[in-house]
């Protein structure tokens, strides 16, 4: 019985020792580096709290966000780059956790649409302006532009006269 106990104990010691060696080798493969609060905040600033109201992770005061910040710290300490950490969060919570979507279609939709719409506005305005110029050119001289006094004024006296003329026009 005693010998059986010794063998069992011996096996436990050997297994434990082997596990320790294994863990140590693993730890040497993936050494955890210390991560500063500033590094955590720099990544958290780019992530939106998945449950709160349009608040970035670095400023959200909830317990859930504190835990997510800790996750950011762990991922960074494991050697993940900030981009990988962000991808990790997007994979888990979707594109709502970033300020601009990572998904290429959503990203294009988000960033291109306002410029597209703005260009349409600009082109419409330019077309109207060109049409007006043509109409002005076709109209008789009498109704053409009446250049304001300012066009030819340079001296202070003339400048004062322009101000008065503008004021008179307002009245």
């Amino acid at each position: 019985m005693k010998s059986l106990l010794r063998i069992a104990l011996g096996l436990v010691v050997i297994v434990t020792a082997l596990s320790a060696v294994q863990l140590s080798v693993h730890a040497q493969d993936n050494p955890r580096r210390p991560v500063t609060d500033d590094e955590v905040n720099a990544v958290s600033k780019k992530l939106y709290c998945p449950v709160c109201e349009n608040i970035t992770l670095d400023t959200c005061g909830t317990l859930a966000c504190a835990q997510w910040r800790e996750e950011v710290r762990i991922l960074l300490s494991e050697g993940k780059t900030p981009e990988q950490v962000i991808e990790n969060f997007v994979a888990r919570f979707g594109d709502r956790v970033v300020g601009t979507p990572v998904d290429p279609t959503l990203r294009a939709l988000s960033l291109v649409t306002p410029w597209l719409l703005s260009t349409l506005v600009l082109l419409s305005a330019a077309a109207i302006f060109i049409r007006w110029r043509k109409e002005s050119a076709a109209a008789p001289k009498a109704s053409a532009a009446q250049p304001s006094v300012q066009v030819t004024t340079h001296t202070l006296e003339e400048y004062r006269a322009r101000i008065e003329a503008d004021l008179a026009a307002r009245r």
Binding site: T36, D37, D38, N41, K46, Y48, C52, E53, N54, I55, T56, D58, T59, G61, G94, D95, R96, V97, V98, G99, T100, P101, D103, T105, L106, L109, S110, L111, T113, P114, W115, L117, S118, V121, L122, A125, F129, W132, R133, E135, S136, A139, A144, A145, Q146, P147, S148, Q150, V151, L156, E157, Y159, R160, I163, E164, D166, L167, A169, R170, R171
Partner: protein
Amino acid sequence: MLAELGFIATFLAFLAALYAAGVAFHSVRVRDDRLLLSARNAALATFPLLGVSLGTLLIALLTQQYQIAYVWNVTDPNTPTFFRVTALWGAQAGSLLFWSGIMSAFAFGTIVLNWHGQRRLMPYVIVYTMLTLAFFLSLSLFFENPFERYWIMPDNNVVKSVFAVGGAVPPASARLAETANGLNPLLRHFGMIVHPPLLYMGFVGFIIPFAFAMAALASGDLSTNWIRATRRWTLLAWVSLSLGLVLGGRWAYDVLGWGGWWGWDPVENAAFLPWLVGTAFLHSAMIQEKRGMLKVWNMFLMLGTFSAVIFGTFATRSGLVDSVHSFARSDIGFPLFAFWFGITAVSIGMLLWRWRRGDLRDERRLNSWLSRESLFVLNNIVFVMLFIAIFWGSFGAPIFSELFMGTTITLGKDYFLQVTPPLFLVLFILMGVAPLSAWSVTSLRRLGKALIVPASLAALIVALLALLQPAEPPVLLIYGIIALSGTVALWETVRGAMARHKSLGESWYRAFTALIARNRQRYGGYLVHLSVAILGIGALGSELYQQETQRTLAVGESLELGGYVMRYDGFLGGQIAEDGRIMDIAQVTVLRDGREVARLRPRRDFYPNAEGMNSMTIPAAHSTLENDFYVLLVDWETISARSATFKVFINPLINLIWWGTLLLVIGTIVAMYPDERIALVTAKTAQPSQLAGAKA
């Protein structure tokens, strides 16, 4: 008694608004002045009636009538008097009633001041203002009633009703006081006394130019009458909205504890959108006044501004977007959406009707790319582009992706900082160039010549800024463009005074005051331009060169940031304030060049009775014109408090934002200040009633 009185007064105001709208409309159809006078009196009566409603609610808040559900929800026995007053607009029901109160005040003022001058438009103005008021009062009466009281039914169920229901008894006062919620901790800030009222004044104030625009469309008086009549009302609404926005930023800076003042949050943006269209309108209205142009465009901008106001209200109060600024989800979402849709469809329909009839034909056309009116139009286009970009980011893309792509997205600061800066830059360029160009036509050479002095001044400012805060060349160029928009305004004023001083022999003081008095609209506008330039430099500097660090310090340890040293001196835990909140306070000393410059006390406030978010991180700051040293207490070692974690920011030039805003208010007051001569002319040429000749 208070609840019944408040409810009855609100209900009477609702009936009066409906009566005024209906009878004013009918009076035009039957051309009866007596009916119109009756409608006017009913419209005027809404203001004192709502004064009674608001007064009773305020008394209920101050005297702690906790049986009224609203009072129970937003105050508790520890709430200081100051916050009992601000609690009037601290939650949905009270703020809706307050909103209606402000609207009736605006309507009252307009009817009194414009009655004789704008008799042809007034019947329709009454119709549109009173219909809108009636709608908002219906929300207060049927969805978010601030006068509902708690009752205990015989079966022990608790119900809310204004009047006593059969067999119900009121809950015990002591029990109600004990369980009262107290004001949302986020709203316990000094700024809450002015920020919401100003924001509401800004939103609601646009009802007046909107009603006049609609009145012009309905009556066929499509001259510049409606623009002249509403210029000051528009400016009042605009400056209130501007102040409301900036004070909201200041509140965020002081209370939300993230080191910034503008987070591009959807609710902030919802208030910014009408500001953008309203600002475009203020510029293009000048072109209609002076050149008889852009009549359709001005109508469109004003209708768009009010539509944006109602949309913003819907977004903020319906739960459409989640934000720390928004109200809780509520049943008023659908009625508000329906009202927004209806008012937008009707106004656009009327505009198209008049347009197709050719009633809005311009007296002149744009004929030079470089005239002042062309540059104003370009300025308007950029404002509209900004509107599109911000609307898309705040509402368009999130709603589109959720509806059509099944994905929820958030477009945050990243998006807005990619899309909006080029547009803001173009606006600043136009602000610098447009005041120097002439009406009708101008030349590049002339423009270049006029820019020499302001550009030199701007270069000087850039050099000064570079000394204060070293910056990259592109940033210095942007600083220069922004500064130019201010120096042009400054130089145009100085030049005008010089002209008077030299040609009329006036003293410098007399020359300046006389110049401004002769054309308050222009020089008030220039002051506003100068203030926007100051504000722009502050916003750019604080955004681009903000520094931050987070560090855990033991007592006696220090950290360094941006030339400052901060030493952690000690900790005061569990301090109980008069209003019952528990404060954990860190004590730090700030040093610069080895010299102590400030002792700060960043803290964490804990509200034991509050529901939901019950702790607040309150920053402490050492402010100079150069920058803010801004400290947040993030965490601390709970038992011994030997160590604490701080987040520290250096916010360069941020105080220019607050100072710039002050100048903006002064400039707008100058621009709004009534010109006695014009007032006299208006009084002498008061319009006869358009219904005259009928049964008057």
